[in-house]
Symmetry: C2
Amino acid sequence: MPERTPSPPAPVPDPPPSVPVTLSATLAADEALARRRRAGERVLSMASGEIGLPVLPALRDRLAAAADENAYGSVAGSTALRTAAAGYWQRRGLGIDPGLVVAGPGSKSLLFALLLAIGGDVVVPVPSWVSYAAQARLAGARAVPVPILPGQGGVPDPDRLREAVADARAAGQHPRAVVVTVPDNPTGTVASAATVRRLAEAARELDLVVVSDEIYGDLVYDTSAPAVSPARYAPERTVVTTGLTKNLALGGWRTGVARLPDSERGRALHTRLVAVASQIWSSPPAPVQTAAAYAFGEPPEVVERVAASLRLHGTVVRAVAARFTAVGAELAPTAATCYLYPDFEPLRERLAAAHGVHDGDGLAGLFSERYGVGVLPASAFGEPGRPLRIRAATSHFYGDTAEQRTAALEAARAADPLALPWIRGSVDRIGEVLADLAGAPAPAPTPSPHA
Amino acid sequence: MPERTPSPPAPVPDPPPSVPVTLSATLAADEALARRRRAGERVLSMASGEIGLPVLPALRDRLAAAADENAYGSVAGSTALRTAAAGYWQRRGLGIDPGLVVAGPGSKSLLFALLLAIGGDVVVPVPSWVSYAAQARLAGARAVPVPILPGQGGVPDPDRLREAVADARAAGQHPRAVVVTVPDNPTGTVASAATVRRLAEAARELDLVVVSDEIYGDLVYDTSAPAVSPARYAPERTVVTTGLTKNLALGGWRTGVARLPDSERGRALHTRLVAVASQIWSSPPAPVQTAAAYAFGEPPEVVERVAASLRLHGTVVRAVAARFTAVGAELAPTAATCYLYPDFEPLRERLAAAHGVHDGDGLAGLFSERYGVGVLPASAFGEPGRPLRIRAATSHFYGDTAEQRTAALEAARAADPLALPWIRGSVDRIGEVLADLAGAPAPAPTPSPHA
């Protein structure tokens, strides 16, 4: 074929504004630490909240037995999975028609699809999980930030919500949804029922859909602080999402479920959500759905595993919290999840003088570069004003091997997980780091119960 | 707590324009047929191109053995999977650094994330797969439709591409990418190397990224019509996507891979794609990645299975094509996939007089309601002008049980799949339906080789 002389290039107009898109801060931090560990460095990962525990054998066996399932099935997920998820919610006082449950490849994907299905702008709490605001931008929406009340993480202050939504609407924006996280990431706190109720009332007044991310719902270790869903107070407008990533450590399986409201609005949103899902992911992975259906059915071994995990999380996070407060960091009483969100404001002078650190980003850099400890700065959670604050996760403390992790669970059932040398070592290590960083005397090591 | 008098509702401004979002036509049709089958109706599904074949035992065993993998791993997918996919492309003359491969939960998800990562509007061929235009709308972009050349499905006519992009840019739109499908869904044709080359040259002149959906790359049964990737002619700007959904019937596993260009533009796009992936799906399901890595390595049993599947597809689709042409429907010579895209224009008068059918939507309705045969109208693929055209897929003909489907593959290896009563029955059934619909004499049944 003869070579064609190319025409002169057509003029390309100025590009449209690019969507600002950044790698998930938690996933980026995890990958960076993994590289350093492979390079032989001593590192302590407190960056992501990935739960370092093994797959429950009963679930592993269900997935293995379902390995010959290769059909797409329904976009919204199998009847078995949706029915099991409805039962899971029923046992928590939130009964729902399985026809209003939508399963997806992770609750992250469901949250994104919900933003597309709802449309308009979205109110997010400050601080909040790294991906809400990023997802809003990808969905072509604005994230309207509203601060939490002190110690009431994950729920925008209802009064400030009213102001922010009024201001946004006056400015021509279109907030249609408010995201809440109960229990909360990053603060590890659980908003009170009264606050959740006030948020639900404000959402009704403002005609907002409430998107309640309850992925940490089974991770409340402080029994005096039960997590209450806004679906109790605004059932007609609350979408609840959850999954098996936190309670059963199945992040890598990618499975999540959404519970749509049983109302005219909810059914219309269900139709749109399933349509979005059909265009973005088709259906959740079929073999995983079968194992997930078993898990959401909560047979005794699943209930026992979740309970043992919860004891483990609570024991370790409390021990680590004590290390932070021992050097003078401020910490709201944590009640759930594997997160701590300490404020180093009381140490501002020391950090500036000894380390040249003036904000959370600098503090996270210090943890990482000087000590090999991965944490995330408050700015990753949308915090303005450069607070001297970081989020630290304890969910990687349970061991590097399946054997260690299984032993950690066993210790949580019957003994003291802090007696295991690898867990005690990590807790002591963060204690040493904090003492050095704060110029405090080195702390006594965790006493061994057998010492 | 005392009841609060609710404030009067705040005024809600007019909502922003809603994203039009509709359920994937193929998935919707499949679900509707499955409901009718469960209700006891005799139905013949030719709507979706889901491949009705079993999981290869070696892959089932790999997935089962990986059921204890629960870590997220890298956003872009495991090194093993990315290296295996790079090898798959290497063996097809498209060698690539595994660092430029991104795995996702299905190539559908990757295509959507690519639209977000590229930004701007996107040219799509007419006709083309149901989800390209829908994904563009969800990404906040416009789909710029450009017709194919006759018999050259999946590739916009390069000359009309230049006109359409110039017009779109003059109108203030921002086309930045062009999607091609090689081999093509819905037409079952393979664009010639010359056409692909002209498309690639036009894309370079117009500064467009080429997104080449090559999910049907291993499904070319006409060896005189090899599929050539635009990555050969515009390597600096072509992204290739594929997966295991079609060649190995693993749609329900949700696994896909993208090959980014080894160029400055490609590396920048890789960074953005991984960032989008991190915010939407985190990582592909870990156990599935391990099994997919084995499949992309193409050990002998995988190669043999793909070859047997291809013989099965080719045999059945050619037999069905003969039924369509026998009643006078027009059909470009099909060379690949499991699709037929017949045009019933020669039967227009008959269809109007006997059935009151005037376009593809009416024709699809007739197939479904009168005969229980699921097909999709041309309008589902973006065809304007209401042509009397439908897409029919033969990939559900291989049986309803794993035993039947395994026997179908066995017959494709050693004998004639059309000799199997359930396959012959489906082929004969569509022949009867077409004869009745066209007012033609009933066709002779498929001769059995043992008759």
